[in-house]
Assembly symmetry: C2
């Protein structure tokens, strides 16, 4: 009997044993920037445990899908956004598996970072999914500073903090911040995103000088509406910035 036959016979005779099994969920840290403020989509829990508390949107990973696929599916179910049409950035953050993190049962969560493109003024409506009494956008830095009076369910505050850390760090050496803006944007819009995520002001002139060679110039300019020179429109391809941007207050 050759190896291929041995392998096929093995697979046919195999019966899953009593391996420890866990329920797997995909949780979402969905970021968007409006009004110069970084915001995260949170749902108000309508059921126990943590009834009435805010939580990250998420749901169970199906038996025939990856965690990433589940995250994308949850995103469209909760927000009505379609990953296929919109250029939505989705990446895996980390997995949270501490025993007892969900008082009901053994739940392991694969957290994902999602960046929604907005024009900087309006936010897509988030709809409450199952088990949720409502959903809305909340300012990230205020949530983490605890100045909103709201606390998050489960270990979701930690997940939110690590999501922000990932985004803020990645913006130093990539152009991923552009995923929070429409396909074409001005340098001022991009700088606003950086300032919202880093929660620190940046010098406009130096930002232009550093960022311009990292972007594609469309050659067109935006119609100036507020008085002032018309700004050039850029597009971004995901690329590495080298040497990286320096973040104020990091040292």
């Amino acid at each position: 009997m050759n190896e291929a036959n041995a392998e096929r016979d093995y697979l046919e005779s195999y019966r899953p044993g009593d391996y420890p099994s866990v329920a797997l969920t995909a949780d979402l840290v969905v970021f968007a920037v409006t009004g110069g403020v970084l915001r995260v989509a949170l749902v108000r829990r309508g059921a126990h445990p943590f009834k009435g508390r805010l939580a990250l949107p998420g749901g169970f990973v199906g038996p025939r899908e990856s965690a990433e696929a589940a995250a994308g599916r949850e995103l469209s179910e909760e927000t009505g956004l379609d990953l296929g049409t919109l250029p939505v950035h989705l990446e895996q953050l980390a997995t949270y598996s501490a025993p007892g993190r969900d008082p009901r049962m053994r739940v392991v969560s694969v957290a994902h970072l999602v960046l929604l493109a907005t024009d900087g003024t309006s936010l897509p409506a988030v709809s409450a999914g199952t088990d949720a009494a409502g959903a809305d956008w909340y300012p990230v830095h205020e949530m983490l500073a605890g100045s909103t009076g709201e606390s998050l369910a489960f270990d979701h505050l930690q997940i939110l903090a690590e999501g922000l850390q990932r985004l803020a760090g990645k913006m130093e050496y990539t152009t991923v911040a552009a995923r929070l803006l429409p396909g074409e944007f001005t340098l001022t819009q991009l700088r606003t995103v950086y300032e919202a995520v880093w929660n620190a002001p940046l010098a406009a002139g130096n930002f232009t000088r550093k960022m311009t060679p990292q972007l594609e110039d469309t050659g067109r300019k935006v119609r100036a509406s507020t008085g002032g020179a018309p700004a050039a429109l850029f597009t971004a391809s995901d690329r590495y910035i080298y040497p990286p941007l320096s973040r104020p207050g990091q040292e």
Copy 2:
């Protein structure tokens, strides 16, 4: 009935439903540097599927432990090393959940990055665990270049590649490379680690100048054994290097 009672009653009446469940494993990317070469611990599979192929060590996550705890447990079971005594670096890498990645059943793997401290010349013995016909150390860059003639089981080649990428990247802005060395080490030893991981030579003089202020000087010097000036001994506390080191060939 108040909220606390409602929550308690809910938990008591709760019965786990038919949520999709998965088997969860913790896989290990264990790195060590000897002879100026970055090596990874791999086991030879003794059972189907992928019998005879090399694979990352790992095992199931128990019902009452986190993925990190399982990774530490597997590490001592497979290598005989104790996380409690040795300063072993362990961090989560990523979670791999593609359906069909294990032909037997639904298995989701939380991969972990482990850095073992060595003196640069000898390697700790790795013992084969259950289901393994053997275990040994293999050169990472050769494995990834495919020049060893060995191929890895499952999606472990991708996990290995992402483990190397994480380590190489983190070494730019932290002193984590010191976790691959004993508690006290010389700048030449540390530079050797950088060169092994980055697979590129570094200018010794400039490396010293950049690295020295990031480390703690013990004030003592190593006994020179090869002829040459005695090198100063340093220790490292995990800290951020700002601005980061620049990696040759990154641009």
